[in-house]
């Protein structure tokens, strides 16, 4: 297989991602006043990872909301949020990651920055992909449920200790815009910014490192990739086994072997590169 760089026009997808990010972060005045949106739309979750403390956010982050509900003293199960995630996952699977996640878009754009040695995969890559499931279980479910204060309330530990999206979308603009918050900055803020800087640097070198190894939302949606209504399929009669699709995939999936892999974010690169149009997507099974 030759090592020539594959050129695929991804700007139509990035356009959809940007449009969705703009739509779900349309409280523009928040970026000037340093105040977040407090309207009724915040009752509803957005499908992607989008911090609700982002000054522009008009919806609620599903991961933050889930931890808030199960960490509250009166609820220990979040039917509203889990139902929402199952609904979206069952219809689209990880298409959300590819098209409707603002933090995914940020990583996509960061990866376009030239770097002498981009890393596609490395030893332990496959094992490290499992980390996101551990993070989902430990930081999003178990810790908010069981590491509680005297009132029986748990903190949103994933948001507090890990989430770089919250730091980028909420932490940085709010601290820059509010003097009182600047004075409250401490070790946690430094820690979260360190994670953000590491995520940004890694995103330039590796394609979507946060989605591959850390994101609990992607971990949840991935379970639905094999059963979702929208899916990918490969026409075995048309496939010439040229290997172009596997080479084009930045999530390191081989669509011919597993068109609905847990790691597939349904970006459509494989579909675009296929010389025989053997890869199709939609609701059809065969």
């Amino acid at each position: 297989m030759d090592n020539k760089k594959i050129k695929i026009n991804e700007w139509p997808r990035h356009g959809i991602q940007a449009l969705w990010a703009a739509l779900t972060n349309s409280h523009v005045s928040g970026f000037v006043t340093g105040k977040i949106y407090t309207g009724k739309l915040k009752n509803v979750c957005v499908p992607g990872l989008n911090c609700y403390s982002c000054p522009g956010a008009t919806g609620a982050c599903p991961i933050g909301s889930f931890q808030a509900v199960i960490g509250s003293w009166n609820f220990k199960m979040a039917y509203y949020i889990v139902g929402f995630l199952i609904f979206i996952g069952a219809l689209l699977g990880r298409l959300v990651c590819g098209f409707l996640c603002p933090f995914g878009l940020i990583q996509d754009l960061l990866n376009k920055i030239p770097f002498p040695k981009k890393i596609r995969t490395f030893r332990g890559d496959k094992l490290l992909r499992k980390l996101k499931y551990v993070i989902l279980l430990v930081f999003v479910v178990l810790m908010p449920l069981f590491v509680v204060d005297i009132m029986g309330q748990g903190s949103p530990y994933f948001c507090k200790l890990i989430c770089p999206a919250g730091t980028l979308e909420g932490g940085l603009p709010l601290v820059l815009l509010n003097k009182s918050m600047r004075s409250a900055v401490g070790w946690l803020y430094v820690w979260k910014n360190t994670i953000l800087v590491i995520t940004i640097i890694l995103s330039i070198i590796i394609y979507r490192p946060f989605c591959k190894y850390i994101c609990p939302l992607g971990a949840f949606y991935s379970v639905f990739n094999k059963v979702s209504v929208f899916r990918y399929r490969v026409d075995a009669e048309k496939c010439v086994h040229c290997g172009k699709c596997a080479k084009a995939c930045q999530m390191e999936v081989n669509p011919v072997e597993n068109p609905n892999s847990l790691e597939c974010i349904r970006c459509g690169r494989c579909k675009k590169i296929c010389p025989t149009q053997a890869i199709q997507c939609g609701t059809k099974r065969k």
């Binding site: 979750c45 199952i86 609905n260």
Partner: protein, 49 residues
């Protein structure tokens, strides 16, 4: 197991179950917890609290 992944009805049934869970969650009052959290600055999320 393979049969479940071969039919689109698995996804449809799961989506339906998701809708029922959403309705049950709203009925239990979970939406107000989400709203309260989302309209106040989440100090943990931004790295302050």
């Amino acid at each position: 197991m393979k049969k479940l992944t071969e039919t689109k009805w698995t996804g449809v049934v799961l989506a339906g179950a998701g809708i029922l869970m959403i309705i049950f969650g709203i009925y239990r009052g979970e939406m107000s917890v989400v709203f309260t959290k989302a309209v106040n600055i989440c100090m943990e999320c931004i790295g302050i609290g």
